[in-house]
Amino acid sequence: MKTIGTFEVDGLTLREPPARDACFKVVTRDAEMQEFAPDDPRALRETVHRHMSNEITSLDIAAQCILEFPDAPWELRLELARQCWDESRHVQVLHRRLTELGGHKGEFPISTFEWSITCALDSLAGRLATQNRTFEAGAMDVVGQLAPAVEAAGDPETAAVLQGILADEVHHVRFANRWIKSFVEQDRRVLLKVAGAVRFLDRANAALQSRKGEANAAGRAMDAPEARVPAVNVEDRRLAEFSDDEIAVILKQAGFRSLVQP
């Protein structure tokens, strides 16, 4: 069986992208994506397309974890298998919504950044810390903010799709939090793997994210990375079993901006 190889960026060894339909243009750097100004008619389609692409990547990552960690506890493999189904439904429903909005797959560039980082890590705890506990938890913040904004802009259909996805993501983050705690209780050295994964992610982010004022592929000047941190979805992070101390740290990183739940 062929395996997916690696590539180098700024001294980091990342995983080559997973397979994608030929219609997709896969890019590596943030600035190569097309993120439009909110009032641009293409903005919502690009957002839906981006989320759809991220869900494909999440499916690929969960599947790869099942493959590459055959000795993981059965209950955790079961969670990952369930996640595969959840992510595949998310792809389906976002693709349906994209089509309803007049878009199509491959309409905008996509990135498989999350795969390239997560699947470069050699421990399952590290992957759960990166993909589920960081990327998916970050998506909870983004979607928690986006869904009400889309609804307020007069698109309840897209908002309902996003809210449905958000509920599933809470559990993906929660099971990762539970299993990381369980692994650490069994072996404190797992903490080193988790810390190493977080450092690796920080370095990759620094290498690949756009800088303040840099123009993206849509010609829009990007904000500074710290200004792009979304407000924290405190309620869902609690449901996902982040501790109050952990939420306090995340709030600090986000400039103490939190979502106000309706």
Partner: protein
């Protein structure tokens, strides 16, 4: 004379092994298959196979084995599973799995159902019924996605015939 408890436990544990291997095979194919619609179908089927394995693994405990106990099949059968895992290309993968291996596995379940006392082993048969229903749905979904994408259809018959000639259970059973 229907199968006794040790033989049934061996079969159920072997079916569990097959379900786990099917989950792993489809999981292995997901990142290396380009078509989004096929990935989406694989995502559902990974979860199906995981649930089959889990239900069978609960049943092994009821049959005096460890919970989630798997028994590897015969070496020849394991080699066939390895061969399927190594198939490259979307159309060839779909043919190997949905036209070849899964119809063969389906027949193994049906043979098992015919070999046990339908009342004594009803808890296993309830699981098998559910699995057979899922396998039928999976085949229909694979056919639909092939039609949608214009992928070449059936071609798993040689694999189906080869599987038929192999012993499922390992010699240890």
């Amino acid at each position: 004379m229907s199968l006794g408890v040790p033989e049934r436990a061996r079969h159920v544990g072997t079916f569990r092994f097959l379900s786990v291997r099917l989950m792993e095979t489809v999981a292995a194919w997901t990142p290396t298959t380009p078509e989004m619609e096929v990935k989406v179908m694989f995502g559902r089927h990974i979860w199906d196979f995981a649930q089959h394995a889990d239900a069978l693994g609960r049943r092994t405990f009821e049959l005096r084995q460890r919970a989630q106990q798997s028994f590897p099949p015969s070496d020849a059968y394991t080699a066939l599973l390895d061969e399927v895992l190594a198939v490259e290309g979307t159309a060839a993968r779909l043919a190997a799995l949905y036209d070849g291996l899964l119809p063969a596995v389906r027949r193994r379940y049906e043979e098992y159902a015919a070999a046990v006392d339908a009342v004594v082993d009803q808890p296993t048969l309830v699981i098998v019924e559910r699995i057979l229903a899922d396998l039928g749905r999976q085949r229909a979904e694979a056919d639909r996605v092939r039609r949608e994408l214009g992928l070449a259809t059936p071609g798993g018959e040689p694999l189906l015939a080869r599987e038929r000639a192999l012993p499922l259970l390992s010699a240890a059973s």
